[in-house]
């Protein structure tokens, strides 16, 4: 099945581009922010409201879904789309990042990793083959290669070994992948060592994959390193394939990465901030619990078309938070997701109109 990526327009002053990525469950217009639905749901948001945020591709997590409910259940339910009621495109990560960041690790060998399930204490073995098998069963449109994500900071030797292993594991992922209706993306690793990143990017090109990701960016690196990594890596990836920067979802990082040629982003930040009572508004973060919102009867953002801004005031959100009503999380999540998607949509429109570097100058400054 075709996973065509059409590049509609290149920015004349940066590496930014506007594209369309075709998947079996619909087109993704790039650049685009993708909301995260870790456990087969975007926390507190129904698919009906999610669709109205402008969400196209949505993430789910292989590691979490393997532990609960298990990929066999999802497969028997008819796959992830049907299970979670999302008919648009879905991407699953490989579980690599979560294994390395959330688990009590037992061993990492060339074969794979063994870790203790935080759910029931059981020992679990994950290999490139197993990750792909789980992702084949889950049935997302895009699946990710199983990679080793070393923590930050870590020695060059260790990163070199992890990068090498990620490369070896990619060929095993490609060999294990069974479904033509799923696109397998490779992941550039290499920690904060720019030369290792570039070497990893070049070696990925040996595989003619339908898409490429820049990975491991949220394991603790400072933001300025992310920009350097993206700028050093992205130009080496094929022009005619989508490029995805994993785990990034702040205004500045997205704008900078788009300028370097990135097309797709994901981050838990909009829903996590919502559960802390915070809203993303025009580049700022507001804590709605603050007394200054008590009698503020304007919407979060008068220019925002989201369900929350069209129907509720800051004072109402402030009230719900103080009343400990869970609906606050839903309404803030809807707004925050819409806000980050709109940010990438506005950049898209600016690139098409040749105004990206002027309109987004503030975010592009070093």
């Amino acid at each position: 099945m075709g996973f065509q990526f059409h590049c509609q327009k290149h920015c004349s002053q940066t590496q930014a581009r506007v594209g369309q990525f075709e998947t079996p469950h619909g087109v993704v217009e790039t650049p685009r922010f993708m909301p995260v639905g870790t456990l087969a749901n975007v926390k507190t948001v129904t698919p009906q409201h999610l669709q109205a945020t402008g969400a196209q591709m949505v993430l789910a997590n292989t590691y979490h879904l393997h532990l609960q409910p298990g990929e066999d259940i999802v497969a028997r339910a008819g796959g992830l789309h049907r299970f979670m009621g999302w008919s648009g495109p879905i991407l699953t990560d490989s579980g690599g990042f979560q294994v390395f960041s959330l688990s009590e690790m037992r061993s990492i060998t060339d074969e794979g990793v063994t870790f203790r399930s935080p759910r029931d204490g059981q020992m679990i073995n994950l290999t490139p083959e197993k990750s792909i098998q789980i992702q084949n069963a889950l049935g997302a449109d895009v699946i990710m290669a199983f990679d080793e994500c070393p923590p930050y900071p870590v020695s060059r030797d260790e990163v070199e070994q992890a990068t090498d292993r990620t490369y070896q594991w990619l060929s095993r992922c490609v060999a294990a992948h069974q479904r033509s209706d799923q696109a397998l993306f490779g992941i550039v690793q290499g920690g904060t060592y720019l030369d290792l990143r570039q070497q990893a990017a070049r070696s990925l090109l040996e595989f003619d994959l339908p898409g490429y990701a820049v990975g491991g960016v949220s394991v603790g690196e400072p933001p300025e390193l992310i920009e350097q990594i993206v700028q050093a890596t992205t130009p080496l990836l094929p022009q005619d394939k989508p490029r995805y920067l994993m785990g990034v979802g702040t205004y500045r990082e997205m704008a900078q990465a788009i300028a370097a040629g990135i097309d797709l982003f994901d981050c838990v930040i909009p829903t996590r901030l919502a559960r802390h009572g915070s809203a993303l508004v025009k580049g700022d973060r507001w804590n709605l619990k603050n007394a200054r919102f008590r009698e503020d009867f304007s919407p979060l953002d008068p220019d925002c078309p989201c369900y929350t801004c069209q129907n509720f005031s800051r004072a109402y959100l402030h009230h719900l938070i103080h009343a400990r009503e869970l609906l606050a999380f839903t309404l803030l999540s809807i707004h925050n997701i819409t806000e980050l998607i709109r940010f990438t949509q506005r950049i898209r429109a600016a690139i098409l109109a040749d105004r990206f570097t002027t309109e987004f100058k503030a975010w592009l400054k070093q």
Copy 2:
């Protein structure tokens, strides 16, 4: 403003009737279950999803909203409808029931009640005048008289005194009420003493009110007493006005009460059960956490038109509960509210078709 109640059809074998109650924010088709939105929101359900459940009139609570955010904030927001984003009819209770059931009571006199706020420990005074003033500020379509709700069991003397006080308080509520766009309903009290109930019902008729309620039914009485109270009281209330049984929302109690001539119901049970992981299905309660739903890929109720049943399986709800995802509460609440509204809608259709006593025989049996 007109609060006309049109009776479209009387059941030939019971006191049941089908009616339309006009309010400034729309018509309520009776009999009808009304969802409860205590703190100006139906817990975990957005108004968009709430509307799709078939909800017409929605409740909010005077006591809770007085404590948080305060009626002044709601009034300055443009009233309850605008504040909570619900453009349909709204009913506020008087706060009486909550004062007597939730507060650390300090004193009850003929003047009113003094209690300690569970929110900040402050002493609060509530009188009939104050309750109406708060409800006038909140701006619901229907407001309720301030009543004394004695606990169960309690001596006849105490109930007699409370009933008498409720009657005295009603005239003060009527005198204090300021807005012609709000209908003030009187409440029949009298505990479990049927003769006191009947006496209270008759004395209510001295006031030509736009509606009447049978109150205090959920302060601890056993269900069989509720039926007796409703059967003894309802026939004494005017035929041409809506009748509301407060705090009741089980299948059997609603069916029996409709047969006795009740038109409106409210209960927190659909949303409370949802937060315990339970669903109301065809007269039963299911705990979706149960292992038997793990691989059950059918909807909660294949005949239910609600958003949840149209899009998700029992296995998915089971998964969300085990994954501790709050979306489970939302999806179960949507179904449970729809289920109770549909139950009253089906009774409505059965009365219109002269099939109420045959179709609902199982629920009407003593």
